[in-house]
Structure formats: C-alpha cells, structure tokens
Symmetry: C2
Subunit: 581 residues, 2 copies
C-alpha cells in the first residue's frame, strides 16, 4: 500500500495489507498483450414483443452483434498489432450503490490499458456521476491504486446521484467526454446505470462524439441477470457477509429459544440476495416477493402464512425462528404496491408530502390509515433515482413483525394458538455488508471485467456491456465477451386505467427469481425442513486463503447457465409486478 | 460431525465441518493425565473498603488461597494418582447471554473429565438455569459434542432466565446437585452469573452439600476483567465480527459521502467492546460511557460534542462519518441515569408501567417528556436479570441521531453551520455477532478453561473461577489458575437520599474501561486523526487459517497485565456511576 493516496500502510490492518497483495486471476485470452475479437450473431432483445420499441429508441445501437474475446491465433501478428497502437484515453465512473469489487474493475481496466499502450491515460471521475458532469478527475496510476486493490467500497472515486438521464445530464457527460478527448467511458453499476449507459451511447453516436460507452455489471443486488450476464460483481461478497450474519442470528435464536428474528435484506425489487442467503444459512422462512406477487397474496395472507409457521413450530415446542424478508417484498404485495403507486404518482405530480394522504383514493387511504405510523411516514419519503419508493427506508420487517404479533394475540384470545407469547427482534442487513472486503471470486470477476472493458473500447464497441460466461468454472475456463446493452432490454407495459397499455421506455429491468429455476426448486424442496427442523447451516465469514476461499454463490453453481433464456418467466413477472406504472 | 445430535453432517457448510475438526491447543500443564496443584497466598478482595462486607456475606468461602495448576514434578507419582482416582460427576449450565466459545468450555470439561477417569459423567442442563432447577439433563458424550465443537451459540444446551439468586432458585439448584450426586457444578457466564455462582457455593458449603461450584468467565461484553481475569471467552470473536461490520460501514459512509452512521454496540454498562472495535476499525468518533460519566457530561453536552465533530468535518468538505455508541452510554449520562433509576425504583415497587410517568419527580418527568416517544416507550420496558434497564432495548443511537439532527438544524438557522444537510443511518450491532463461529483464540481459551474447571473440582475447590494468565502470549506460555470469586467482589454504595450510604450486597461488578490504561491512551492519541482523517482500518472478517488466524484483541495485547490492580479507577467509577442504586 502506498501512503500518498488512501489509508497509509502503517494504519492498515494486517489482512487489509495482505489482501492488497492478492493478484486476481485472468483467463488465458487476457494474459497476453492482445486479444482476438470475434463477431457472432446480430442480437435482437430478450423481450420479443418489445423489440420494435427498443429498435426505435436506439436506432444507432440496436441489433449489434455479440462479441467474444479470444487468444490471438497469430502471435507475430499480435506483436505487430501492439507496436502500431496509439495511446488510448479512457474515463471511468462509479454509478449506483457501492458494491464490493468496484475498485478491481478500475484496477483491471488500468492494467489492460497500460499493457495496450503505456502512454494511455485512465481518468477516474471524482464523486461519481457528479464528477463526470463537472469534469472532476483523478488520473489513475499504480500509486493511486495501491491501497485500493481488492478492497471494498467505492471510496477511491466515490458515488453521488447515480443518474445520467436528463438531457442536461447527458449533455454534461458528453461535454466532459469531448473536453477530455476520451476514446472510451466505462460506467460501473447495476440495471439503472446500464440503462443510462445505453442511452448515453446512443446519444454520443447520434452526435458523432467518438467516445465509446461501456457498461460493467456491478451491483450487490444480483438482479442484473439474463442470458448474457450470469451474475454481478459484489453479489457473492454481499451474500456471504449477510449469510454469515443470518447464520449467527439463527444460532442466537435457537440458543435463547424465545425470539423470532425478522431480517430484512437489501437487494431492491428482486429476491436474489435473500434466496442465496437462504440456501447458505437455512433460516426457517423466506418470504419471497416473486412468490407473493405471482400468487397475489394480500398483506393479511402473508401474515397468516407466517403465523401458521409460528404455530406449527410452537406445536414442536419451538418459540424462536428466523425469517428473511427481501426489501422488495413490500412492493410485491398487491395492495401495498397499489398504495405505493398512488403515492408515487402524487409525488411525480409534485403534490406536497403532507397533502398526499388526503389525495389518495378511498381504498388506498383506508389501507394507509391501517398501517402503523412509522410505516406511513416511510411510505411518504422521497424516491430513488429510478423513481421507485426508497425501499431501503421502508421497515417491512417491522411492519410484518407488528402485524404477526397482533395476529398471534388474536389467535391466542380465540383459543387457536396455545404456545408461548410471540416476541420478535427486527434487523435490516445491508449497509453493513456492502463495504466488505470482496471475496476472491468478486476480486477476479471484477478485474477480468476491467480488462474486457478496455478491449471493448479498443475494438470500437459502444453501447455494450462487458460480460463473462462459464463463471461457475475455474477462471481459466471463463469466456470473455461483450453483449449489446439493447439486447438486455425489455419494455414495461403501463396498465394504468382500464385497458390502457401504452408502451413505455425500453430499459434493462431487474430480473426476478426464476420460479422454474433449480435454485428456487431446491429452496421449495427444503422449505418444510427449513421451517421445522432448525438444521441451521453455518457458512462462516469469507475466507481468503485455504479451503473454501474460492467458494461461489450457490445459486450461480446450481442454475443452468441458459436458464434466463426462458423469457416467459421474466415477462410474466414484468407484466404482473414490475411493469405496472 | 454426527447426525444424531445437532446439524446432520451433510447439511453443514464446508467451513462449519472444517471448524469441527479444529483441535484447540493446550498449555503443557494440561496435556498430561494429571496436574500439580499449588496453593498461593490467601486473598482478600479487590475492593479494600468492601472487604469486611464481603467477608461477612461469605463466611465460608471468603479469603481462600489463589491456586495455580502446573505440570507434575513426579511422573511416577502422577500415574499412581491416576490409578487411585474415583469417577467424578459434574454438571454444567449456560447462564447469561450466549457468547461464542461456550460450547468449547463443555468440550474441554468433557475431555479432561474422561482423562481423569473414563467412568466419570458429565451432565449438561437443558434450557440453562431453568434446566438446572428442574433437573433436566443431557449426558454429554463425544457423539453429542461432535457437531458443536468450535461452533458458536449456546444451542447445545440453551439458556433461559440466567439467575440462581432467589432462595427458591438456590434451593432448587441444590436439590438437583444432590439428586444427581454431583461432585461439581460448572456455571458458564459473565459478572452476574459468577456473582450467583459465589452465592451458591457459599450456600452449598453452609448446608454441607458436597458439590463444588466453579465459575467460567464467558461473556461477549469483556467486562469481567480484573487482576485475575484478563478477558472473557467470546469477547475476541464478537469484537472481530463487529469490527468487520463497522469497517464495512466506514467504507460505505466514505463511498457515498452523505450519511452519518450511528452504530450502537452490545456490551452492557462498560465500553470494552466499543473500545476494542474502535481500535480495530478507526471510526470517526466513540462516545464512551466511562468518559461521559467521569466528566459528568449532560445529554446536551454529548450532543454538542458530536455536532462540533460534524461541523469540523464539514469544514473539510466531509459530510459523512461513523460514530460508535456503547449500549451502556445511556446510563452514563447523569440525568438519563437519574431518570432510569427513578423508573427502576417505581418498577421495583410494582407500580404499573402506565402509571410510572405520572409518578416521576417533576425534574425527571420534564426530561421524560422531552425525549422522543420511541425512547419513552423503551425506558418503561421491563428489566434484565440484574435489575438494570434493558439496555439492548433502548435505541440510544436513534436518540442521539435525532437530537444531533435537531441541533444541526438549529445551528444552520443561526448561521453557525454552513455545511450540507445532516443525515443519519442508525444501526445496532450485537445479535448478529454473538452467534458467530468462535475465533481460534476463543476456541483455545474456552477449551483450556473447561479443562481447568475439572481440575478445580478434582482439587475440591468451590467458589472459585477458572482463569488463565499471560493470554497475550502463545498458548504454551499460558498460566492456568483458579481465583476465589469473593476476591473479585466489590460493594456498591447506595447514595439514595441525602447522605445515606448503606453498604449494599457484595457482587462481581462489571469493570469499566481503565481511563489510565494503555488502550484508552492509544485511543486518545488517535482521536483527532480518527475524527478528521478517515484513515479507516479494515480488519476484515475472522480468518481461521493462515496469517492472522491467531490474532488477539488489541486491548488485550497492549494493556499491562496488572493494570487492573489499580483499584482507584474502578472505585471512582463505581462510586460515580454504577453504585448509585
């Protein structure tokens, strides 16, 4: 570690110092000074009925071909190619929520760029998208990187408003690209940031700006997942840290034998983090948003389902338990979703917060008044960059615990429940995981994606995402590729008002859990044992050396790699749940 | 791991299975079949002015000699001794909050007992002290232990009301000891449980019950610390897990640059966990109860101190930060303490909760009304086994965040603060750490204490605690000993009413941070850098193999081993803060 930038070496912890020395692995095609670029089929989009809309919205970047990066056939030619190269100028920006591994994308990009031509320059934008708009840069060098290699956080560059969307923002980004004479701009982020990246790429092509725009899938949510993208950088680490904590809580629960722990997990709309954590730690219940949405369970049906579980456990003499609640669950409960939608529309119409409750429809107003005051307040909070409610600010776990307690008291009074008094402890796990030291898998994956980004820019690709296939195999079998961002897009159907189905703006949407997939199938098989047996699994914390240090997400290793090819599930979910605005 | 008890092997995680194979280390004196018992000086107590009261309360167990366990001089004699041994019958009970390493005490005790005489029997009481009173036992065998070796939680036996205090409880415990014909009873717990152990030992001697009572210092709080006890089992693990999470939160804070994290930590009255975590992770501020109490800072002075820090950081352009709040802080703020005391007295007088607010003194009532409703509700909650308020139920971090925000708004209006809007995120770290897989240090320490407990019972010691000195050295230099529980006692001075100083009941009290000690000195030296520089330290998660897997608490390694010989600090603190009831 270097004392000039970041934490001085003498203040860093021993593990922190040791991690800075870890050298991420590269697949063979990235180990040389050059790659062979192979162009595959032209793409459409994963959402066939939306393809026309996507093509219309992205006339210059729609339908591009898939690209694979391979080892060069001809070493002599490759060496010649290196000598003919011009220096390249690239900018990189963190967009979206910090996720373990982000720094390694920058590092990988830097290393590939210096191998490409040592005169090349890499700029990092300071303060996320705000730094991009204002052209605030830090030149990335080996010295600057020293104390950030394999470290968590986004603190090398920071993040800010996480949007490149309004015409003012797009135009500011373009001006910066031009002022810095950038050959490429790498945008590090999740579904929202990559949708923005696609839009920016299209605009730059239209305006004859030479800068190539490349997206890198970095997101703790794991919801940027489709036939091109197997998982996102950070998902593995965040699931491991959360699973460690959930397992600790399970042992805590069974030791004291008197509390139910309601644990809400970060992960936005989809339940990928919760599913992975459940498979790693075997808690008693997981209330998955996707299941609730598809079955159209009402809030009280969800509560009754939990209470039935509590009651079944009490009959075995068990008065403790652990429930996982994905933060997106709240939006998957139909009447809560409808309420959030109404509030969202009023927000967008600039209705002052204090007046929103009075302008709700009678039905929504009645539900609003039924909810405990702390939930009412949270529902009125301002919204995130993608216009959804601030999911992380809604204490769904407290809402459920509150309502389950009321229902258990009711059942006790009616003589239907004869167990001990129900008591709960609530937790929200998220912030305490996303700053973690990244796992070896995330370190490798991010570093490889950084390399691929450089090769994409060098190949003149724009509006593409860096991708790696075969992730469940060892690194030397990883397949490095680039996929057009437009190929990952789908179109939301607005169902507001009777029969009205206008076509919305194409975007990369969060993928829900595949309810036909193997990971979900495994969970369902185990659900009854999870509920009743208390065979809690202890994954332990992330190990960086020795056995287990190369462990990958369970969901990644058991899913078929092409499972997301099944668009039906995605569409069903989009139609029922997520396109409803 | 064994499928008959606990988690079946095929369901355990790979690290969980691997940990079950870890063999804790033993110092040389415990490696043979016998030990030499050396009797040192007779003891008084760490609180000279309380010695008379302790002697009076413990006429049969006060003043016993210190005992050290050494390797036998005479191997032939040792072998002869083994052949003459009778089988021994021992019971073990978990008392107090679960703490990583508890299972290894049972394992160590079991192994030593079987070496002592293979016909010996070890009973674990199921369901903690409730199981002790009701004589509900599980015979501990190697098969039973298999899936609990080096694992977290107290779930092998469970815990319950954590008290052996009322005459009914003491009498039930004695009946069980007699019914099982126990030679020894091992009580695993912290300050409260060990105070109870002393009382039970005294009673059993007085009633001619042969069962020897032995205490083992297991507590995540680290507050059972005195000239005989360097640290407690579980403290190392809990601090490592919490430090990992705090460090994650620090990186999260600096990445986004817009939130202050208020992190409350478990640890009861004293701030040992918070101090250790601060030295491991370097957050911006630690509001230590001991400092606040000694300086007699009021609630608003604490708030102003935090606001001054926020303001100093804003002047450097920093609008994020991380603050550690020990859960005991709330009781260290004089007016809050007085309020909690009044509520506690009303509780003890069986005043119904709803009427307590109306029966407070005018001054306390005014403070009560000033507090936000969520804090008022929490202050009225029922109390813990040691009659203190339920510290873990009071959201001190939310109270402080709430008041700091109000003060920053005020300063902004008055033009004294010109930085960005203050925003906070609150966390309580505790439950998610105490079920963790124990560190190698805690595994070894607990296993050694289990062995010592057996040798204490075999030597006929009662009213003693198993102890290990030189813990900062490698295991082969550890010094195994036993210290009379009465020697660790002090006497609280009740200051209720003008001039009234009746002598209270002697007990082992939680030790506060030594404000003259080296650990605190280090923190003070670094305080200004911590506040302003953001050189956050990343300790990472617990590593079980390779470099760093033998790391010990920083506070343990830098303190002088005899620092707690300075009773003045303890007395000062007891007088000012903790004896006030």
């Amino acid at each position: 570690m270097n004392a000039d930038y970041g934490v001085p070496t003498e203040l860093a912890g021993p593990l922190q110092q040791r991690r800075a020395l870890y050298q991420p692995r590269l697949p063979p095609c990235l180990q040389g000074a050059t790659v062979r670029v192979e162009y595959d089929d032209a793409t459409t989009t994963i959402d066939p009925t939306g393809a026309h809309a996507v093509a219309q919205a992205f006339p210059r970047t729609y339908g591009q071909r898939l690209v694979t990066f391979l080892s060069p056939d001809d070493t002599a030619g490759a060496v010649k190619a290196v000598n003919e190269r011009q220096p390249i100028r690239v900018g990189v920006v963190f967009s979206g929520r910090q996720s373990p591994g982000g720094h390694n994308v920058v590092w990988g990009l830097h290393d590939a760029l210096k191998v490409y031509n040592p005169q090349s320059i890499l700029y990092g934008f300071i303060g996320g998208t705000e730094g991009l708009f204002a052209n605030k840069t830090l030149e990335i060098t080996n010295d600057v990187l020293a104390s950030y290699k394999n470290q968590g956080g986004f603190d090398l560059l920071g993040r800010s408003i996480d949007q490149i969307r309004s015409s003012k923002q797009v135009s500011a980004a373009m001006t910066t690209c031009q002022d810095l004479n950038l050959d490429g701009l790498v945008i590090v982020g999740g579904v929202t940031s990559n949708s923005d990246a696609a839009q920016l790429a299209e605009t730059l092509v239209q305006k004859n700006c030479k800068t190539k725009v490349v997206g890198v899938p970095v997101s703790l949510n794991g919801d940027l997942k489709n036939q091109f993208v197997e998982t996102t950088v950070g998902f593995d680490t965040v699931c491991k840290v959360n699973s460690q904590l959930i397992s600790n809580v399970c042992l805590d629960a069974i030791s004291a034998g008197k509390y139910y722990y309601f644990v809400r997990l970060m992960g936005r709309k989809a339940s990928h983090v919760a599913l992975e954590c459940a498979l790693q730690s075997h808690p008693n219940m997981l209330i998955m948003g996707e299941e609730v949405a598809l079955s159209k369970l009402t809030l009280m049906e969800v509560i009754n389902k939990i209470c039935d579980g509590v009651q079944a456990r009490a009959e075995l003499g068990k008065h403790h338990g652990v429930l996982l609640i994905p933060e997106g669950l709240i939006e998957s409960i139909p009447e809560m979703y409808a309420l959030i939608q109404e509030i969202s529309i009023l927000h967008n119409n600039n209705v002052p917060v204090t007046e929103i409750p009075t302008q709700l429809s009678p039905w929504a107003a009645a539900l609003f008044q039924f909810l405990p005051p702390f939930i009412r307040r949270e529902l009125l909070l301002h919204q995130e960059s993608d216009n959804s409610a601030q999911l992380s600010q809604i204490d769904t776990e407290q809402l459920l615990a509150h309502l389950v307690e009321a229902e258990m008291i009711k059942r006790t009074k009616e003589g239907r429940y004869k167990g001990k008094k129900f008591s709960s402890v609530c937790h929200f796990f998220g912030y305490q995981a996303r700053g973690s030291l990244p796992s070896n898998f995330d370190c490798d994956y991010a570093y490889v994606l950084g390399h691929i980004s450089l090769h994409m820019i060098a190949a003149g690709l724009t509006g593409y995402m860096a991708t790696v296939a075969n992730l469940k195999d060892p690194v030397h079998k990883w397949r490095c590729a680039a996929a057009p961002l437009t190929a990952m897009m789908s179109v939301r159907r607005h169902l507001r008002g009777p029969g009205a189905i206008p076509i919305g703006k194409p975007a990369i949407h969060p993928s829900p859990i595949d309810l036909k997939g193997k990971a979900y199938e495994l969970l369902r098989e185990k659900a009854s044992s999870f509920l009743l047996d208390d065979f809690y699994r202890t994954p332990g914390g992330i190990q960086f050396e020795g056995p287990g240090s190369d462990a990958k997400p369970i969901t990644l290793t058991i899913e078929d790699q092409d499972y997301m090819g099944d668009i039906e599930m995605l569409k069903l979910y989009l139609d029922k749940v997520m396109s409803n605005r």
